[in-house]
């Protein structure tokens, strides 16, 4: 969905998204990594299982919630990608049971 500018070349940071390695420029957020990897939708909603993906990239919309290094429901746009980070897309926000 997004591509790196040629000037983003140089040392990269490797993270995994659902087990697949993605190289992103230093300083990129996990949400940017999702966009660069095309890992979209990045979650589905608890209410209707609708697909969602990063929307605001600045911490206000809470659409980019994913699991990062085993911690669920993190705002991917507020976390800087770090070497070896394990990101898992959220199949369905399952933390709340709804009838």
């Amino acid at each position: 969905m997004f591509a790196s500018l040629p000037d983003a070349a140089g040392p990269q940071v490797a993270v995994t998204v659902d087990g697949k390695t993605v190289a992103v420029p230093p300083g990129a957020s996990v949400a940017a990594a999702l966009l660069l990897a095309g890992a979209v939708p990045s979650r589905t909603t608890a209410v209707s299982a609708a697909p969602r993906a990063p929307y605001c990239m600045m911490g206000v919309c809470f659409e980019c919630l994913v699991e990062i290094d085993g911690v669920a429901e993190r705002q991917a746009c507020m976390v800087t990608a770090a070497e070896g980070m394990r990101v898992r897309r959220t199949p369905r926000s399952s933390s709340i049971e709804r009838s």
Binding site: D7, A8, T45, A50, A53, Y55, C56
Partner: protein, 464 residues
């Protein structure tokens, strides 16, 4: 833990940085808390790294972005304590500022506090705006600034406002093909804006810059669809097309990425949570905290500066930050009134000059009624809880007078974003449905913590 600062500043954008520089100069013990890892706010995001390592990206982003480096450098050089990566989740007296940094909650105390939390994009609830691939224009800018990432495939821009034109120009510099700009500004806006042109021309550089962007976009052959009656976004797993109604006919544009923008509004949850008084600003179509010329809030120890006190842009924000710091120093008996006023002369003059552009922009890019309060019942308003415009109108029919009664029925505004993405839409919808002024409808009662917080982290908070 028990040390008390004279002045705490929340936010390291133009307002927060300028306030910190001024306050430190006047000898105030100053702390700056900011969510990001580096100073600059959204506007000058990643400016240090981009300047140092990415000359092409710097050229793409343009001169106004590059100019932010001077302020960031001055901020780095000042004696204020800078706490990056710090998310403030609660402020209250006498407890202090509670914030989360590196997975731990901490407390900071201050005699005075400046809220400089900037702006966010006004929600633009269109049919299909929750689809993956639909993002804000600001989001694309952030991806570009911090990751050198640009949208791929067929890119369509929808909305109105200077930021949309700036982004289109930046994408043009980055060799990204923008398929179309769908202009949602209201008909007659140009006529209404015209009378503000003489004043706007006195604001340094703004009008010329805007016209230059428009000319370059035209020369590049980017189609502009004007006088649009409706916009709908379609797709399944991702957005696939933009359906634009104009002249009573539907035009279908294939799209892989759709970027929305209809102006900025204050990023206001902290002020609401503090119960600072707010008022409806009709020209800006949003609530703003009640402040005086020095940014003093309705609560004594608090001040606002920058866009969170009403949208004025980066240059104006810088000046309001300076003025707020001068008033703080005066209130803390560091400078007398005469010195405050003497030092305020230059920032006040600059602020007046920069503000001259606002009436023109506010009239020209006033968001249309249908884009702030969707007419179709099935348009999602609350992205978190998936409440629709129809859901909210039904609560009005049930007799709900405002957002705080409404949400008990449909959970609108009760998801993780805490009303940030639906608050203004709800106010506008209920105002239209009840035929009263938005200011009389009011806003959500925002409660702390204003950012979600792990229970374990809260429990581990040490208050000595």
């Amino acid at each position: 833990m028990s040390e008390c600062y004279d002045f705490a500043i929340i936010g390291a954008g133009p307002a927060g940085m300028a306030a910190a520089i001024t306050a430190a100069e006047l000898g105030l013990r100053t702390a700056v808390l900011d969510e990001q890892e580096a100073p600059g706010g959204q506007i000058y995001r990643a400016i240090e790294r981009v300047t140092q390592n990415h000359p092409r990206r710097l050229a793409i982003l343009g001169d106004d972005y590059a100019a932010g480096l001077a302020l960031v450098r001055a901020f780095r050089a000042c004696s204020a304590d800078y706490l990056p990566g710090s998310t403030v989740w609660q402020v209250e007296q006498p407890l202090g500022i509670l914030y989360s940094a590196r997975g731990k909650s901490r407390r900071l105390r201050s005699r005075r506090t400046l809220i400089a939390t900037g702006a966010m994009e006004r929600p633009m609830p269109l049919a299909g705006w929750t689809l993956p691939g639909v993002m804000t224009a600001g989001a694309a800018q952030i991806a570009l600034k911090s990751a050198g990432a640009v949208p791929q495939g067929r890119v369509v821009l929808v909305g109105c406002g200077p930021l949309l034109l700036l982004l289109a120009w930046q994408l043009l510099q980055a060799d990204v093909r923008v398929c179309a700009i769908v202009d949602t500004s209201t008909s007659g806006a140009r006529r209404r804006a015209a009378r503000h042109l003489p004043s706007a021309l006195m604001a340094p550089g703004h009008v010329g810059k805007g016209l230059r962007y428009i000319r370059m976009l035209r020369e590049a052959g980017i189609p502009m669809l004007n006088h649009v009656e409706n916009v709908q976004l379609n797709g399944k797993e991702r957005v696939q097309e933009v359906v634009v109604t104009h002249g009573g006919k539907d035009e279908r544009l294939g799209a892989d990425v759709v970027l929305l923008h209809q102006g900025l509004v204050p990023n206001a949850n902290l002020g609401w949570a503090l119960r600072c008084e707010h008022g409806w600003n009709e020209a800006q179509r949003c609530f703003v905290p009640r402040t005086d010329a020095w940014g003093l809030a309705s609560l004594d120890e608090f001040q606002f500066a920058g866009d969170c006190a009403g949208i004025g842009g980066a240059h104006a924000a810088e000046q309001t930050g300076r003025l707020a710091a001068l008033e703080a120093a005066h209130r803390l008996a560091r400078i007398d009134r005469a010195e405050r006023d003497a030092r305020a002369r230059a920032p006040l003059g600059a602020l007046r000059r920069h503000r001259r552009i606002r009436p023109l922009l506010e009239a020209l890019y006033r968001p249309g009624d249908r884009y702030v309060a969707p007419e179709q019942d099935d348009v999602i308003v609350c992205r978190c809880e998936e409440a629709s415009a129809g859901d909210i109108r039904r609560t009005v029919a049930l007799g709900c007078p405002g957002p705080n009664q409404m949400k008990a029925f449909v959970r609108c505004g009760m998801g993780p974003c805490q009303g940030r993405m639906c608050g203004l839409t709800v106010t506008e919808l209920m105002a239209a449905a009840r035929n009263v002024a938005p200011g009389d409808i009011g806003y959500y009662r925002i409660r702390p913590p204003i950012k979600p917080l792990a229970l374990g982290e809260l429990a581990a908070l040490e208050l000595e």
